[in-house]
């Protein structure tokens, strides 16, 4: 086997096992009765042995083998753990660490391991060792991994945002400057800022596992209260997300799971009658889709009763004709209405709703989307789609009734100049199809627009759900530069502002809103302007 290409993987896994061993040894030192620790210790040694054998690292293999044998005896209770054995294992662990370090540094491995094997042997036989060797490491080493307060990265990212803004001022100066040196420098500056930005973003990434590893405990506690048995499965936990996004998913996740256990999963007898497995199943599945992560939380409980949700929504004041016109899929989203979600009665009748408004708000606040799927009797699936990274996005500056706004470039199909008479009843013939054109100013509650012979129409694709894939035209005055904008979230009192999802402070210090296209498209689709 060509071993060289596996070396990195070998080192990575072996170091993880070494860490596991250290943890395990310290744990049995405290509580020798913990059998599961012995099992995992055994597997750690076993894995190191196996990998080292395949790589041809004989001393590592032999030493880990000797310790594996010892663990095997402990596991089968042929040997009782003594402090002497634990210290011998700790002593050998240091030797293993040194050997692996030699592997890492490409140093020769001809190391005599017999003193270590001897020490293990005497520990097993209960013979005291000559004092002298101490188990404490000979030197204190700093790890390659640094622990940094999360806030440091938040600040770094904000600073990069400011740099981008300064850069955009410089860029506009290059238009009027004739100095080649200046243009070159601005170009280089831009490249450097981009590369810092990328490094910071990748340093901020954390695996979803960091969030999901707390879930078994949550489920245990909730299901204990309700007396239900619930199995949790997590898939795709290795996918990583920006720390800030991951952090804000914590509370919604617990809300969703609490709902699933409390109101989704049926009591035991009901499940048996329905022919389901006695324990309820909750699956958390994460998958990456381009720059987004989709997190699904599915349960196999009784599902949501759409009719009950409609009924409840009408009672709480949503116009009946609007509720009746909704598809089931749209009606399901009614559980996210603040009125519905907090009403306790809903949980009894519809079986769901606690805090769903919070969940929806959170995902949308992150620039994401929330979808609910439910099949009566089969279960419910809550799907959250959130961006993997935050903050700095490519945007186009447009002007609406004289006010500037930003549109994410990724959503723009193209920009068209359209004559006034080509738009009739708000519809433009575009490539043979009807393209609805929204007067953006009116939609955003601005003063009535002035008529003009030619309009600029930004054609975007940004619908969700039933509007997905549909193109829509946004009528604006004109458009300006493309810019990298550092988008700040909207904070109170404007956190619930309609039609915009964030704000950037641009080069000249003026605040400019980022348009929330999904919200705008959905309102336009309902003809609500």
């Amino acid at each position: 086997m060509d071993t060289s290409k596996y070396k990195a993987l070998y080192l990575q896994e072996t170091n993880e096992h070494l860490l596991g061993i250290e943890k395990g040894l310290l744990a049995i030192e405290k509580d020798p009765a913990e059998a599961s620790v012995l099992d995992s210790l055994f597997r750690h040694y076993h894995s190191i042995k196996g990998m080292s054998a395949s790589m041809g690292y004989e001393p590592v293999m032999k030493l880990s083998h000797a310790q594996e044998d010892l663990l095997s005896l402990l596991r089968s209770k042929k040997l009782t753990l003594t402090t002497e054995i634990t210290s011998a294992l700790l002593y050998c662990l240091d030797a293993l660490k040194n050997l692996v370090k030699r592997v890492e540094e490409d140093l020769p491995l001809e190391v005599d391991i017999s003193p270590f094997v001897k020490r293990l042997k005497s520990a097993v036989e209960g013979r005291p060792v000559e004092a002298r060797e101490s188990a404490a490491p000979a030197e204190l080493k700093l790890s390659n991994v640094m622990k940094v307060e999360g806030k440091v990265f938040d600040d770094l990212l904000a600073t990069v945002g400011d740099l981008f803004m300064a850069l955009s001022s410089f860029k506009s100066l290059t238009h009027i400057s004739r100095s080649i040196e200046f243009k070159d420098s601005v170009y280089l500056l831009g490249k450097s800022i981009n590369s810092i930005h990328h490094s910071i973003l990748s340093a901020r990434m954390l695996p979803i596992e960091d969030l999901t590893e707390g879930l078994p405990r949550v489920i245990r506690d909730i299901s204990k209260q309700s007396g239900k048995k619930v199995e949790l499965k997590v898939e795709g936990a290795g996918i990583s997300l920006d720390r800030a996004i991951l952090e804000s998913l914590g509370a919604p996740m617990v809300h969703i799971i609490r709902n699933a256990v409390d109101h989704g999963i049926e009591p035991l007898t009901e499940r048996m009658q329905a022919g389901k497995s006695p324990e309820g199943n909750i699956t958390v599945r994460a998958s990456a889709k381009k720059d987004k992560v989709i997190i699904e939380v599915a349960d196999d409980g009784k599902g949501i009763d759409c009719d009950k949700v409609r009924e409840k929504a009408i009672k709480s004041g949503v116009p009946a004709e609007r509720v009746r016109a909704m598809t089931d899929r749209e009606a399901l989203m009614l559980v996210c209405l603040p009125g519905l979600s907090t009403a306790e009665a809903v949980t009894d009748t519809s079986g769901r709703g606690v805090g769903m408004d919070v969940v929806k708000e959170m995902t949308e606040g992150l620039g994401g989307a929330l979808v609910i799927e439910s099949a009566p009797g089969k279960g419910t699936k809550i799907i959250m789609e959130v961006p993997r990274t935050t903050s700095i996005i490519k945007t186009l500056l447009v002007r609406v009734e004289g006010e500037p706004f930003l549109i994410p470039i990724s959503k723009i199909e193209r920009v068209a100049e359209v004559r006034h008479e080509d738009i009739s009843d708000g519809v433009l013939k575009h490539n043979g199809a009807d393209l609805p054109v929204i007067p953006l100013g009116r939609l955003l509650g601005m003063e009535e627009e002035t008529e003009s012979p030619v309009y600029t129409v930004i054609i975007v694709e940004s619908g969700r759900d039933e509007n997905a894939g549909r193109l829509i035209g946004l009528r604006v005055d004109d458009f300006g530069d493309e810019m990298e904008a550092y988008i700040k979230p909207l904070v109170p009192p404007m956190s619930k502002l309609w039609g915009v999802s964030g704000i950037a402070v641009v080069g000249d210090g003026r605040p400019v809103f980022l348009l929330d296209l999904p919200q705008i498209v959905s309102k336009a689709a309902h003809g609500a302007y």
Binding site: D162, E330, M333, L334, C336, L337, P338, E403, L444, G445, M446, K488, V491, P492, P493, M494, K496, L497, W498, G499, V500, I503, V505, G509, R510, P511, V512, F513, Q519, K523
Partner: protein, 148 residues
Amino acid sequence: MDGDRLVIELKGLNLGLGTKAVAGIVETEKIPFMPGQSGFIAGIISFRNEPVTVIDIPKAFGAAAGAEGGPHKVVVVKEKNRHLGLDAGSSAVSFLWEEEIKGLSPAQGGGKYIKEFIDVNGRSIGMIDSAALFEEAVRILSTEGSGV
């Protein structure tokens, strides 16, 4: 009652603010638009690179600005950890030092967004309740488009 006061002089109404709550004063020709702005919301400005919601003080207190023309004076106040901009129009802004008001006890009564009145040298000054203004701003900006 401690600390200096900042006084916004509207027509027929003087409004005071503890200077400890004032983060800064921004002068601007025009206050950019905020989508869905209505009621006393005047728009948005940036203050030290952070966006700040601005409310129209003359409108909120039902009194005309103290002077016509000229740039807007926006007093940025800190309310807990959040900022709020108070657009005084081109009204005059002055200060009262702590020594001037020492020992004065507040006169009775308050009003909408006013915590209490104090009388200084024959001038009655209403102390602005910025928390109440903030809550009202939240309410105004949340009503539009809250549907599903």
